[in-house]
């Protein structure tokens, strides 16, 4: 079985915690984590609900493999209706929290209502209770983590929490666990704050059992780990350079957007790259990168642990927490905080990244929001009166650091930046400068230079997101096969295949990064051995497609239409100038109709009756 078959339902309005049996029919149709939690959400929540009202729910969910000995099996997801977008939100995180939930005996926790006072949830195996968070409110995520460890006196306690921006209504607040890992996108942390829920602290000692066929499972898991170890990407590339190795690759192929996506190509890319993180600096002879790090059960270990140069301006006179090693830059953060803002100061970006972790901010949306603000500042729409005196030009590292501190403290330009780029640009009359889809900002790949990822962005169910269908693997990296980045032929099929497979992986408890080495023929046997029922490759892909369509259905019912499957005009009409992708715009119109057709949707982007029937929706 692998599922614990138990759900914890926490009614914050009443202050109650109750156990329920997991709906095993749904588990058979939606597997776990992203898929199963979304099924619960769409069954229990009105799609038109205000995301920040007590009527919205927030679900923390593990997958059936979470906590098992499968490689990377420590994942959990936070599922809700997102405040940044108004669409379905599902943010996935690693670290050690998911494993702890599972060891405490829970497949998922459903939070509903709103507590009259700030609380945190304490879980110790089957015991769950809400406790006062009066002392925790107003604290950073790092402070809360330390305080809860001091209260519970157990280093093995795992904490998920929100920082100050979430409390202040920042639309893209993250849920931070284990201090450096984040369910980062779409504002899931903002929903948590709206419920007066500051943190979840969990300790589980029950073990993870219920493996359907242990011998088969051990064999499948062992085979999978061997594939990861033998593969050059997961065995060598990711541990050594992390995701940040992409900075020079994507810049090299003309796909790195810069300066609020005005153009592709950033001269400072090499200064903030994975390779640069290895270079000894003058002050102390040490590199930015201290070590790599792995989440629970991971045999890849792509995580970055970094220090800021002790002589760097950003940390002078600041707290001790910035003077030592902490969660370092990953590629998407380095792009948004760096290339998109024009800042190529590695230490400034590392410090800002620390702040994003410390106070629970999605660095992608944050960096892109600052980039939009910088463009408006340079255009004269924003002045120093708006910025609190900050000279918010592109490339100004000091200004960027000051703006980030303002966001965290809620002062100066902070409340404006907390809006996200869509609301910020609308507020100042320049909506066209928000580089977003459905209100969520783009990650680090320019859809003008890489066509398929543009279609994925436009159709992603949680707004612009690379992790909904990472066609970069094929279009740039040649995994599993190389496709031409500037072609549109075959891209609808490629996007659909990536989106469906990703939905399944996100529902299993495994990390998506395994798919740089694993295909579904490596993943399905592990699920099949762990879970009851038939989990063939075919069924896994069918479940992935069902999940994708369920999410789409929710968004349509929430009011999204085909008109929302679009890219900003800049990316459709303003061609890249210079470099290998000179003259390119995204040709979304060449791909979208075919995509709808193979999805089984009508011209309005809605599921047809036939599709509902085929997928049992």
């Amino acid at each position: 079985m692998s599922w614990t078959r138990k759900i914890l339902r926490v009614n914050l309005t009443e202050g109650s915690c109750n156990a329920e049996d997991l709906n095993m029919d749904w588990a058979d149709q939606y597997l776990g984590q992203r898929g199963l939690a979304t099924k619960y959400l769409v069954e229990e929540v009105d799609p038109k609900v205000d995301p920040l009202s007590p009527d919205n729910k927030m679900i923390m969910a593990t997958g059936p493999l979470t906590g098992t000995m499968a490689s990377t099996a420590g994942r959990y997801s936070v599922v809700t209706k997102g405040p940044l977008t108004g669409a379905i939100a599902c943010s996935n995180s690693g670290g050690f929290l998911g494993n702890e939930f599972k060891n405490a005996g829970w497949d998922m926790i459903i939070f509903e209502g709103k507590s009259p006072e700030p609380v945190y949830l304490w879980i110790h195996n089957q015991h769950a209770e809400l406790r006062s968070a009066a002392d925790l409110w107003g604290k950073t995520a790092w402070e809360v983590d330390d305080m809860l460890h001091a209260i519970h006196q157990d280093p093995q306690v795992r904490v998920a929490t929100i920082g100050r921006p979430a409390e202040q209504g920042c639309y893209y607040a993250a849920v931070i666990n284990d201090k450096h890992r984040a369910a980062g996108r779409s504002g899931v942390g903002t929903v948590m704050a709206s419920k007066n829920l500051k943190a979840v602290a969990v300790r589980g000692t029950l073990g993870v059992g219920n493996i359907d066929n242990m011998n088969q499972f051990l064999q499948a898991v062992n085979d999978g780990k061997q594939v990861l170890a033998d593969n050059a990407v997961t065995g060598q590339g990711l541990p050594a350079y992390g995701t940040q190795v992409l900075m020079n690759v994507i810049n090299g192929i003309g796909g790195l957007p810069a300066h609020n996506m005005k153009n592709a190509g950033f001269d400072g890319a090499e200064n903030i790259s994975g390779e640069a993180m290895h270079e000894p600096r003058k002050s102390d002879g040490k590199p930015n990168l201290t070590t790599n790090a792995g989440c629970f059960g991971c045999t890849i270990a792509c995580g970055r642990i970094s220090t800021v140069d002790p002589e760097h301006f950003s940390i002078q006179g600041k707290g001790e927490q910035y003077q030592g090693a902490s969660g370092g830059l990953e590629y998407e953060a380095a792009w948004a905080l760096g290339a998109d803002t024009g800042v190529d100061d590695l230490d400034a970006l590392t410090y800002v990244n620390f702040l994003c972790n410390e106070d629970g901010i999605d660095p992608i949306t944050y960096g892109a929001t600052v980039a939009a603000a910088m463009e408006m500042y340079e255009d004269g729409v924003l002045t120093k009166e708006h910025t609190g005196g900050i000279d918010l030009r592109f490339g100004n590292a000091e200004a960027f650091v000051a703006a980030t501190e303002a966001l965290c403290s809620g002062e100066g330009i902070g409340p404006d930046l907390a809006l996200g780029s869509k609301r910020l640009c609308e507020k100042y009359g320049r909506p066209e400068l928000s580089m977003s889809v459905k209100g969520q900002e783009f990650p680090a790949y320019d859809p003008r230079g890489i066509q398929g990822i543009g279609l994925n962005y436009a159709t992603s169910n949680r707004g612009a997101c690379h992790l909904r269908g990472y066609t970069i693997a094929s279009e740039v990296l040649g995994i599993p096969v190389k496709t031409e980045q500037t072609d549109t032929d075959g891209k609808p099929e490629l996007v659909k295949a990536f989106q469906d497979a990703t939905a399944l992986v996100d529902s299993s408890g495994l990390c998506l990064f395994t798919t740089f080495a694993w295909g579904m023929d490596n993943i399905a046997p592990q699920i099949d051995a762990a879970c009851s029922g038939d989990w063939s490759v075919e069924k896994c892909l069918e479940v992935g497609e069902r999940i994708w369509n369920m999410e789409r259905d929710f968004n349509n019912a929430a009011g999204f239409t085909a008109d929302d499957d679009k890219l900003p005009k800049r990316l459709l009409e303003q061609a890249i100038v210079g470099g290998p992708t000179d003259g390119q715009v995204n040709r979304l119109g060449d791909m979208l109709p075919k995509y709808y057709e193979i999805r089984g949707w009508n011209a309005q982007g809605e599921l047809t009756d036939e599709t509902r029937q085929r997928l049992a929706l």
Binding site: N231, A232, V233, Q236, G237, L238, A240, Y241, G242, T243, Q244, V245, L246, N248, V249, G252, I253, G254, E270, G274, E275, A276, C302, E330, Y331, E332, H466, L467, Y470, I472, A473, V476, L477, G478, I479, K482, E484, Q485, L512, F513, F516, G579, P580, T581
Partner: protein
């Protein structure tokens, strides 16, 4: 003929001495192919996972036919990924 070679990530250790992070300017004979350049620096086919000439991808089968021209920039990465 002058051209430029860029080696990234773990391939950086195969760069000849020089000051720039990734790039070296080289003299190569007229008619040198991309594949011959790769072999000159003892980079295996498996290591030469992403090969760009002036930012454009050159797949394994085309590397012997692609003849270098003056001022070409050849960039090479081992198997890498991220996201």
């Amino acid at each position: 003929m002058k051209m430029h070679l860029e080696l990234y990530a773990s391939l950086m250790e195969k760069l000849p001495p020089g000051n720039a992070r990734f790039r070296r300017t080289l003299d190569v004979d007229e008619g040198t192919s991309v594949q011959q350049l790769i072999e000159r620096f003892r980079i295996t086919d498996e290591e030469a996972h992403i090969v760009l000439v002036n930012g454009h991808f050159v797949c394994g089968e085309d590397r012997s036919q692609r003849i270098l021209e003056t001022e070409d920039v050849v960039s090479i990465w081992p198997p890498v990924a991220g996201g």
